[in-house]
Symmetry: C2
Subunit: 457 residues, 2 copies
Amino acid sequence: MTKDVENWLAAQDAATIETLKDFCRIPSVSTDPAFAADVRRAAQFVVDRLTDAQLPTVELVETDGHPCIFAEWIVDPAKPTILIYGHYDVQPPDPLGKWQTPPFEPDIRNDRLYARGASDDKGSLLIPLMVARAYAAVHGAPPLNLKFLIEGEEESGSPHFAPTVAAMADRLACDLVVSADGAMWRADLPSITVASRGMLAMELTVRGASKDLHSGRHGGSAPNPVRALARMMASLHDDDGRVTVPGFADAATPPDPAIIDAINDVAFDVADYFDSIGAPRPDPLPDGPALLTRQWLVPTLEFNGISGGYAGQGTKTVIPSEAAVKITCRLVAGQDPDAVFAAIRDHLTAVRPAGYTMDLHRHGPGSKAFALDPDMPGLAVAEEILTDIMGTRPLRVAMGATIPIGAVFAAHLDVGTIFFSFSTSDEDYHAPNEFYRLSSLRSGQIAWARLFDRLAL
Amino acid sequence: MTKDVENWLAAQDAATIETLKDFCRIPSVSTDPAFAADVRRAAQFVVDRLTDAQLPTVELVETDGHPCIFAEWIVDPAKPTILIYGHYDVQPPDPLGKWQTPPFEPDIRNDRLYARGASDDKGSLLIPLMVARAYAAVHGAPPLNLKFLIEGEEESGSPHFAPTVAAMADRLACDLVVSADGAMWRADLPSITVASRGMLAMELTVRGASKDLHSGRHGGSAPNPVRALARMMASLHDDDGRVTVPGFADAATPPDPAIIDAINDVAFDVADYFDSIGAPRPDPLPDGPALLTRQWLVPTLEFNGISGGYAGQGTKTVIPSEAAVKITCRLVAGQDPDAVFAAIRDHLTAVRPAGYTMDLHRHGPGSKAFALDPDMPGLAVAEEILTDIMGTRPLRVAMGATIPIGAVFAAHLDVGTIFFSFSTSDEDYHAPNEFYRLSSLRSGQIAWARLFDRLAL
C-alpha cells in the first residue's frame, strides 16, 4: 500500500543524501560549550525538515541546556498516535588525527557516508523526517497521528530530557514511541532491542586514621583502609564473578523467552569477543550463550575506579587514611534501584571490619531496566516489516547498556518504545571514521513508510 | 673519670647553646635544590666544629648529591675505634604558617630550643662534636680512636650514603658505630633501639582488556582488573590482618628477649594509640603487648596506594583496562628481601584469576632488618651509662620503621650500631614547631663523655 510513497522516496535518493551531508556538516557537539551555536543550528535544521514535511505544529522547546524539537500532526483523533524520538547532537570528534577525512566534511566511499554523527543519529533520524515528508507530498498527510520529540543532549547524558517529557506529558500522549536511535546489534543480523539494563551508581569510601601515617612506624598496628576496602570488595562477588550480595537479584523477573532463543541461536564467538577487546582468553573459555546471558540478562556490580594513598611514581611509605571505589550496577527487569542500593549497603555494613568507618554515597537516582512487553502489537508489526525487507526474521536482543529513554517514556507516558534504528553497532559511532551505510538510509525509509502504514490500521 | 671533661662542658653551656642556634639558623633542607648552598654551608659548619675539636683529619667527601664529612683521630692503633654517625640536613619546614616562631630563627621557650632540625639531628649531632672538643681541650686527645661520617641526605632517603660507605670501607673500619641520630622512643622512658624492620617495596599491576570498556555494554562479560586486584589483595591477609603468603615469614629469627620484656613492661595504652592517630577504636581492642609486637616485631605487608579507572568527581561507566597497588613490606631479622619477594610473587601468580595478566614490579633492592647482637659489649656499656644518668634502666626497644644505616654499616663494615641519640620522638621533628630539650643537650654530653671513657677500656 506504500508503493507510491516508496517510489517518491526512491526518486529523492540523491537529494536525501545531500540533505544528510548538510546535516552532518553541522558540528553539533553537545558536550562542548564551544559548539553551542552549531548545536542550535542543528536544531533549526530539524525544525526546517519538519516544516518541509508540512507538520502543522513545529516548536523549539527550550530547556536549561540545548533545546528539544516538538512537532505534531493529528490527522484524526480516532487513529493511533506514535511519538518519534531521535537526537540531533553528536559525539566529540576527537581524536581528530585518526580520521581519514575531516569529521564534519562528509565523504562517500563504498556506499558509506563518513562523518561524525552520520550513524549516531543523523542518518537514522533523517529517515522518519523524509518518510513524513513523502506521505505529505504523495497523500497530503500521514496515515496516522505523528508526534516528534527530538533532543539535543543525548551524547551528554540527556540531563534535561526526562524533566521535559514529564512537563510535556499531556502533549506527548501517544500509543507507542518509535525511536530512530539505538543501533542494531550486528550488521549481519537484523535485530530489535527489546530490553536494556538499568543503572545504579555509588561510591564506597573506607576510612581509618584521620591522616596518612608512616607505614614503617605504624605498619601492622594501624588500620589500613586499602586493605579493608579490598576485603569488602572481594566479598561482593564469588570466584566466577557472580554478585554475592544477599537480596541483590531477588526481585529480577524472567526475560522475554525470545531473547533466550536469540542467545542460543546466534552462535556468539567467545574467543573472538575476548580478542576484540584485547583481553587474554580465559581458560577455560565460557560458552557463547553463558557469556551473552551475562552481558544482556544478568545484573552486574562493576568497579569503575579505585583510589587511595600514593599514586605517583615509585614508592611512598604511607598508610593512607582513606580509600574509595566507584561502583555501577546494571539492573535487569524487576530490580528496583532503591532496593538494590539498600541490599548493597546492608551487606557492606555487615562485612566492614572493626576499626574502620565507611560511607556509601549514591550518585543520582539510577534507572530501572527497560523491557518491552513481548506481546505488544507494535513489536510484531515491526518484526514483520523487517523480515519482509531483510529476508530474515530479526532477533529480539537485549542490551547490556542502559537506554534511559525507554524507561523515561514508560514512566511518564506509560507506553512502550520500539527501537527502529537503521544504524548498526559496527559503524564506529563514538570513534573516529564514523560512517553510515547508504543502503540503510534506503531500506530504512521503506521500513518506516511501511511502519506508518501498518500501525495506522 | 670524666669529671674534668664534664666540668669543661658545663662551663661551655651558654656558648654551646649559641653554637646550636647558629647551626639551626642554616636552612639545610636537602630535598629542595633551592637550598643547595645552605646545605653546603651546614656541611662547612660541621667541618669547622671538627676542626675546633682538633681532629687531625677532616675532609669534605663529595658524592653525586650533598657531601659527607669524614674525620678521624687515631690516638693509638691498639685502642678501640668508634665511628660516629649523624646528619646535618633537615626536613622541609612546611607548613610554614603553623610555626609559632620562624623555623630558622631559633627561639628558646621553657628550656626548649625551637627550630627546624634542632631535634633531628643538629642538637644530638652537636653533642659528640662538643665532647670530642672537650677531650681535646682538657686531655689533649680523646681516650679512644674516633672516626666521624656525617651525611647531608638523610632526610632525602640517603641515596648516596651506602655507596659512600662501600667505597670508603677501609678508611671507615672500626669496632663499633655510635649513631647520634635515631630518637628515643618516649620522653618519659629512656630506651635504646636495638632492632628495626627492613623494607621491601613493589607494585602489582593487573590488566584485563587492552583499553577501557563501556561498563554497560561489557559489564558481566569482560574482565574487570579492579575486581581481580581486590580478590588478589584480599588473599594476602587473614581477617585479623596477618599476612597469609606461604613462606612469607618462615626465615624470621626470634627477637632479643629484652625487647619482649620491654613490650610486656611498658603498659602501652592502646586506646590512646588509636585516639592519637585519629582512628576509631577497634572493638574488641587488642591488648598493648599484642599491638606493640605487631608494630615492632611482626613483618608486615601494607598497601600504600591503589589506582585504576576513573578517579574524578561523580561517576563514569567504564571497566578499567588495568589497576595497580603499591605495596611495602617491613621485614624482621632473618627475612631476606629476595626470598620474601619471591614468596609474594609465587602466591600472587597462584591466585591470579584466569583471563588477566599481572606484573609485579620491585622498587629497589630493599633492605634487611637491623638487629643488634644482644650480647654486644658496647650495648651493655651504653645501658649502664644511661641507667646512671637517667636513674632508670633503659628499655631495649625495636622500631617498626626502617633505619637503613644500621644495615648499611653491618653490610659494609661488619660492625654493630648503637643508637645513642638524645632526641625523643615527641619533639615534632618532621612537623611544625620542632624543638630540642636543652636538658637533653646537657645530659647527652655527659653520657657521650662517659661513653668515650668506658669504650676506651
